[in-house]
C-alpha cells in the first residue's frame, strides 16, 4: 500500500502568538512549532494501516525549510519517507492543495490522509480540495475508520448533533478527527533513525494567491466584569443595565 500523509507545521497550542510588524502575518520569534495535532491522528492512522498491510508511509509537507522538522517528527513516529514541497511564499488553502495535488498525482497513492484542519489558519479545506483536484473521493472529519482488504472504506463522521456512517473506496483522501486513534509517541529509536530516513525535495509550480490577507488582529481584550450588587435587591438594577447599557434584553 502506498500511503501518504499531508501534515502542517503549526505554532504550539500554548504559544502566545503575536501579530508581526506588517500587521498581516504572525511574528515567528519565540514561537515553538509542532506537528499539527489533527495531523498526528492522520500519521497514526497511516502507520496503523501500514502495520496491518504491507506498505510504505510518506509524510508530505508544503512550506519553507523549517517544516523539515515537522516532517522528521512524522518519520520519528514511524513513517518511511518524507516529501518536502519547498516554498518560502505562504499560500492560501487552494494554493497549498494545488502544490500537494500536483506533487501526488503521479505517485499512485492508495490513500492520502490529512488532519481535519490545521490549527493555525483553520481552513478545513484540504481534504475536500485535494479530493477534487485529484478526482478522488474524500471522507472528511473521520472519527472512526475501517479500510477493508478489498479497498472499501467505512467511516464514521461527526455531524451536528449526531454521527454519520459513510462508505467509499480506495484510492481516497481521508481527513482525521480527534478520537480516530491514540497517536503514538515517537520512540527514542525512532527519533535516532529519523535522521537517516530520506526526505525528497520538490519545487511547486508558480501560484498566485486567490485570497489575500489584509490584516490580522488579536481578539479584543475582555474588560473586567461589573458587580451591581448582592442578593435579590440587585436583580432590578441588573435587569435595567442589561436593557439600557448592554442592550441584550
Amino acid at each position: 500500500m502506498n500511503i501518504f500523509v499531508c501534515v502542517s507545521h503549526v505554532p504550539d497550542t500554548t504559544t502566545k502568538v503575536q501579530v508581526g510588524e506588517d500587521g498581516k502575518s504572525i511574528d515567528p520569534s519565540g514561537v515553538t512549532w509542532i506537528l499539527n495535532p489533527y495531523d498526528e491522528y492522520a500519521v497514526e492512522a497511516a502507520l496503523q494501516l501500514k502495520e496491518a498491510r504491507e506498505g510504505e508511509v510518506t509524510v508530505v509537507c508544503f512550506g519553507p525549510d523549517a517544516v523539515k522538522e515537522t516532517i522528521r517528527k512524522g518519520l520519528a513516529m514511524g513513517a518511511d519517507k518524507g516529501l518536502h514541497i519547498k516554498s518560502d511564499q505562504p499560500r492560501d488553502s487552494f494554493g497549498t492543495a494545488k502544490a500537494l495535488a500536483e506533487t501526488l498525482k503521479d505517485r499512485e497513492a492508495d490513500v492520502i490522509f490529512c488532519g481535519r484542519q490545521s490549527i493555525d489558519y483553520d481552513g478545513w479545506q484540504m481534504a475536500g480540495l485535494l479530493g477534487e483536484m485529484l478526482d478522488l473521493p474524500s471522507v472528511t472529519v473521520a472519527s472512526k475508520l475501517e479500510i477493508k482488504e478489498d479497498g472499501s472504506i467505512e467511516a464514521e463522521r461527526e455531524i451536528e448533533g449526531g454521527m454519520e456512517t459513510v462508505v467509499s473506496k480506495l484510492p481516497a483522501v481521508i481527513s482525521a478527527q480527534k478520537g480516530l486513534n491514540d497517536p503514538r509517541y515517537p520512540k527514542l529509536q525512532g527519533i535516532m533513525q529519523a535522521k537517516r530516513k530520506p526526505i525528497e525535495d520538490v519545487e511547486p509550480s508558480p501560484y498566485k494567491n486567490r485570497v489575500e490577507v489584509l490584516e490580522m488582529s488579536k481578539p479584543p481584550v475582555k474588560s473586567a466584569g461589573k458587580i451591581v450588587g448582592e442578593g435579590p435587591d440587585a436583580v432590578k438594577e441588573l435587569v435595567k443595565l442589561l436593557h439600557e447599557e448592554a442592550k441584550v434584553i
Binding site: 515553538t32 522538522e69 509517541y185 515517537p186 529519523a194
Partner: protein, 387 residues
C-alpha cells in the same frame, strides 16, 4: 504541550533530535505522569503501569547499543530524559536512574555476553525490573566498609548480609548486589525468589513516596557461580555506576526545580494581595529572579557536563559538582516556591511540597551533599578530607 521557560535560549545549544526527545518526554510527563502522581504519592505507591510506557519511549538504557535494546543515543539525550521525568516526580526519575545507570550499566560494562543478552533487552523493555544493592545500614558514605560477604562453595556463591535504602528492591526481578569476596568488592546478580533472599519494603517515608524503597536481606543465599559480574573488581566498579546515576540526577534536579519555579511564577502572577498580583512585590520578584537564574546556570552546567561525557572527558568530580550544585539549588527553589505559595504551598493541589520532600532525599542519596563537597575539595587540593 508545556513549552517551559528558556530564558537564556539554551535550547539553541541542543540538536533537533535532542529537542525532539525532550519535547516527547515533556508531553509524556504531562499526559501520563502528572495526572496520576499526586494520588500515588498520597498512597505511598509506585505507579506500576508507568515502566512499560516509559520503556516504549526508550527511557531505559538510552545510551546503550541497539543490539542490547538500547537507543544508541548520547548522554545529553539521557540527561534530558531524566530532567523531564523529574519534572514529574523524583521517584519516577529514580526508577529510571536505577534501571539504566545502576543495573543496565554494570551488566553492560562488567557482565558476560550471556548476562548481557539475558538481561539487557528485558530491562530495556521493562519486562524485568532491576535494583542495585551497595548501601548498608551501617555503611552509607563509606561503602568500602561493607560487611556483606560472598563465599565460594563449589559451583555457587553464598551471600550473607543486608543492604538498605534500595530503590525498586521489593519489585525487582534482579538485584545487582555488591559484596566482599576474599576481601575484594565484587558484583553479583541475584534473582528474585532465590532462597535466602528477601526484599521487604521500608515504610514511613515522608519523601519519595511514589517510589519503592527496600531492604535486601541475604541469609545463606546461594547463587550460581556464573552470576558474578566478572569485570567488576574493587570499589571502583560500583562507584563507576554511581557516577552514571549522579550524572542523570544532576539533570533530574533541574526538572524538579522547573516544576516548582513554574508553579510559583504562575501563582505569583494570579494571586492578588493588597489589590495587586503578588508578582509585583519586590520580595517575590527577588525569589523568582533567583529561581530563573539558578535554573539557567544548572542547565548550562549539566549540558556542558553532558557534552564532556559524550567526548569522554567528564570525570567523577565534574559529576559531583553538577549533582551537588543542581540538587542544592533545586531544594532551595522548592522551599522558596513553598514560601511564594504561602499556605497553598502545603497542599497537594500544587506539586511544590512533594518536590521539596523528594529533594530532601535526593540531596543525601547518591553521595550526600557534604561528601560531594569533599570530593570536589579533594580534586582541587589533592588532599582527601574524608579518610
Amino acid at each position: 504541550m508545556n513549552t517551559g521557560s528558556d530564558f537564556f535560549n539554551i535550547d539553541s545549544l541542543l540538536t533537533e533530535d535532542e529537542l525532539m526527545v525532550r519535547d516527547t518526554m515533556r508531553s509524556f510527563v504531562d499526559r501520563e505522569v502528572l495526572p496520576v502522581i499526586e494520588e500515588a504519592n498520597r498512597e505511598n505507591r509506585f505507579p506500576m503501569d508507568l515502566p512499560k510506557k516509559m520503556a516504549e519511549l526508550g527511557v531505559f538504557g538510552p545510551t546503550l547499543p541497539g543490539e542490547y535494546g538500547g537507543g544508541d543515543a548520547n548522554y545529553v539525550i539521557y540527561g534530558l530524559m531524566m530532567q523531564e521525568l523529574e519534572r514529574g516526580d523524583s521517584g519516577i526519575r529514580s526508577f529510571a536512574s536505577v534501571q539504566t545507570s545502576l543495573v543496565m550499566y554494570p551488566i553492560f560494562r562488567y557482565g558476560t555476553e550471556e548476562q548481557k543478552r539475558r538481561w539487557l533487552p528485558a530491562l530495556a523493555s521493562a519486562e524485568s525490573i532491576g535494583c542495585f544493592g551497595l548501601t548498608e545500614p551501617d555503611h552509607g558514605s563509606d561503602p568500602g566498609g561493607m560487611v556483606t560477604r560472598a563465599v565460594r562453595d563449589g559451583d555457587s556463591f553464598v551471600l550473607n548480609g543486608a543492604k538498605m535504602w534500595i530503590t525498586n528492591g521489593t519489585i525487582a526481578d534482579v538485584a545487582v548486589v555488591w559484596a566482599k569476596l576474599d576481601g575484594e568488592v565484587r558484583g553479583f546478580l541475584v534473582e528474585k525468589g532465590t532462597p535466602g533472599f528477601t526484599a521487604p519494603e521500608m515504610k514511613g517515608k515522608h519523601s519519595l513516596r511514589a517510589s519503592v524503597t527496600s531492604e535486601l536481606v541475604f541469609q545463606d543465599c546461594r547463587i550460581p557461580a556464573e552470576n558474578i559480574l566478572p569485570g567488576a573488581k574493587g570499589l571502583k566498579a560500583p562507584l563507576s555506576c554511581l557516577t552514571q546515576a549522579r550524572y542523570g540526577i544532576s539533570w533530574g534536579a533541574i526538572g524538579a526545580a522547573t516544576a516548582c519555579y513554574e508553579t510559583a511564577l504562575d501563582y505569583a502572577k494570579t494571586r492578588t494581595q493588597f489589590d495587586r498580583p503578588i508578582a509585583s512585590f519586590q520580595l517575590v520578584q527577588q525569589k523568582l529572579t533567583f529561581m530563573e537564574t539558578e535554573i539557567t546556570k544548572a542547565r548550562l552546567l549539566s549540558l556542558h557536563l553532558g557534552r564532556l561525557q559524550d567526548q569522554q572527558k567528564a570525570t567523577f568530580y565534574h559529576v559531583s559538582m553538577a549533582k551537588r550544585n543542581n540538587v542544592d539549588i533545586a531544594l532551595q527553589i522548592a522551599r522558596m516556591a513553598r514560601d511564594v505559595l504561602g499556605a497553598n504551598g502545603i497542599l497537594d493541589e500544587y506539586p511544590v511540597m512533594r518536590h521539596m520532600n523528594n529533594l530532601e532525599s535526593v540531596r543525601t542519596y547518591e553521595g550526600t551533599h557534604d561528601i560531594h563537597t569533599l570530593i570536589i575539595g579533594q580534586a582541587i587540593t589533592g588532599i582527601a578530607a574524608y579518610t
